[in-house]
Amino acid sequence: MAEIILQVENVKKYFKVGKKDLKAVDGVSFNLEKHRSLGIVGESGSGKSTLARLILGLIPPTEGDVKLLGKSVFKVTKSENYHLRRQVQMVFQNPYLSLFPHMTIGKNIEEPLRLHNIGTKQTRKSIVLNLMEQVGIPHYYYNSFPHELSGGQQQRVAIARALALEPQLIIFDEPVSSLDVSIQAQILNLLLELKKEKNLSYIFIAHDLAVVEYVSDLIAVMYLGVLVEFAQTEDLLNEPLHPYTQTLLKSVPVIGGEILNITISGEIPSPLNPPSGCPFHPRCSYKKEICTKEKPILKEIKEGHSIACHLY
């Protein structure tokens, strides 16, 4: 069996809002093997970005644990954390906001190297130029500032910066959703190339299923803080089992398609006021009595295909 890079163990994150708990992530567990890419899809408010921040150890969990290369990201000592952090990097949706506007492109990419005391000034520069080449940013931008670049180019810089410390895992949070389609395709192809070349593992968060399919080996579907389905990309798309995944797939606009009479109504409920039982039951057309009372747990019903639904 392949080595496991990431273990997420029943992790929960509740935020206090007034006297209530906002259950952003409510018990998520999965393992990710090395060199694989996991896509996480879900609508706004499903908790996918909070999950990413938990995996990075940026926020403490309310419950549960996240292990990176076997070590808990929440329980490590400061110096251990320093080394662990090198193994996982993140790329965000808005590249302009995630780059330092007062630093040149070169300095932006160099920053993680400097913080980790890697190389001398000279060797760092050659590393940076090399990274710029890998992500397709011409060398003459070395002394330019982020605002002089287009959105697609800025995202390439953010990717170069994430690669600087040679991490094993990169988390992408909606990396292409602010980009035009022709640029989006360029970035997606770049991500596939880099993954192959450098043997990386990815967690790829997006709301666009077609984009997720393009880069992921596995897909996890999130709804109101829980995983409702988890499977190999092909299995999930060809044989979606959870009613929510099925409607999600039907809702994706298709070129030349018809507007179907979608059976789903309403929107994702507020995580401050989650429904009892299965979080999807108010919108589900296969609802049974048990669904309103008992929360289904994620279980494997076929090899590598898990769902959380009382129907199975």
Partner: protein, 319 residues
């Protein structure tokens, strides 16, 4: 049939300190009653500015030239006072972000009936009655109670329904929707698209839909216009567009969209969209990124090639 709206050689330029931004560079199209046309293109293609020019919702330093014939009259000859009688009355518009287009301090019901009262169409009582009716029509449950609520009490999809209600209450001839579903989740997007089409069929409203999503465009419209660098590069019925897309940019766009379960690898269009300040007056705006560029592409404007009455492409390849 007569055109409801006919755009002739529309040019919109902005005079800025750094030079002239040529956002729209001579576009022409017509729209009949009850038809839906989608204008697709990437950021900077001029798609939004072209419709804001129709509504004249642009800053004073914008120079609009050409003709915008609406119901037989050129809107560009109208002064501000006359234009105000058109907006929200004959032509309505909905925007991408419903939260920033609604007034957060005014109750939903008040905001929806504003166009009716402003244009002195009905009495206050009647307006209230009509508002509740239309709220129900756009799928907002318990409309009577919702009438007295504020925008923050509505979810994103519900707010967009409110915007649609507001746009339609004065029964306009033309509805302009600028990326109406872009900020919504897919399941909600499907609901809103369904709603727009249902209402259009019922009322016979003409619709201009601005979108970057080609799939959405093909699903809801009769015609598709593809814009690039402020010009129309291709115009066709949706059927023709699906069967035989021709312009290299259209083809590039179609090949760079990931399609669910297709397993195709994405071909990319090299380079970046053009800088609208540096656009050349002559030549095809797409030439720099085009794989099929010929020498004349940068020297002469591309010809207008009519493949059928409805399918037009601006490209030397098809001469």
């Amino acid at each position: 049939m007569e055109y409801l709206l006919e755009i002739k050689n529309l040019k919109t330029h902005f005079n800025t300190k750094e030079g002239i931004v040529k956002a729209v560079n001579g576009i022409s199209y017509g729209l009949k009653k009850g038809e839906t046309v989608s204008i697709v293109g990437e950021s900077g293609s001029g798609k939004s500015v072209s419709v804001l020019s129709i509504m004249r919702l642009l800053p004073p330093y914008a120079k609009i030239n050409g003709e915008i014939i609406f119901k037989g009259e050129n809107l560009l000859t109208y002064d501000d006072k006359k234009m105000r009688k058109i907006r929200g009355n004959n032509i309505s518009m909905i925007f991408q972000d419903p939260m920033s287009s609604l007034n957060p301090t005014i109750k939903i019901g008040q905001q929806i009936m504003e166009p009716l009262l402003w244009h002195h169409k009905v009495s206050k009582n009647e307006a209230r009655h009509k508002t509740i009716q239309i709220l129900t029509e756009v799928g907002i449950p318990s409309a009577k109670e919702r009438f007295h609520q504020y925008p923050f009490e509505f979810s994103g999809g519900m707010r967009q329904r409110v915007m649609i209600a507001m746009a339609l209450i004065s029964e306009p001839d033309l509805l302009i929707a600028d990326e109406p579903t872009t900020s919504l989740d897919v399941t909600v997007q499907a609901q809103i698209l369904q709603l727009i089409r249902k209402i259009q069929e019922k009322r016979g409203t003409s619709v201009i839909l601005i979108t970057h999503n080609l799939a959405v465009a093909t699903m809801v419209s009769d015609y598709i216009i593809v814009m690039y660098g402020g010009r129309i590069v291709e115009k066709a019925t949706t059927e023709e567009f699906l069967k035989k897309p021709l312009h290299p940019y259209t083809l590039g766009l179609l090949n760079s969209i990931p399609i669910l379960k297709s397993k195709k690898s994405l071909n990319t269009i090299p380079g970046q969209p053009p800088n609208l300040r540096e656009l050349e007056e002559v030549g095809c705006p797409f030439a720099k990124r085009c794989g099929k560029k010929m020498s004349r592409c940068e020297e002469e404007n591309p010809p207008r090639i009519e493949l059928s009455d409805t399918h037009i492409v601006y490209c030397w390849l098809y001469e």
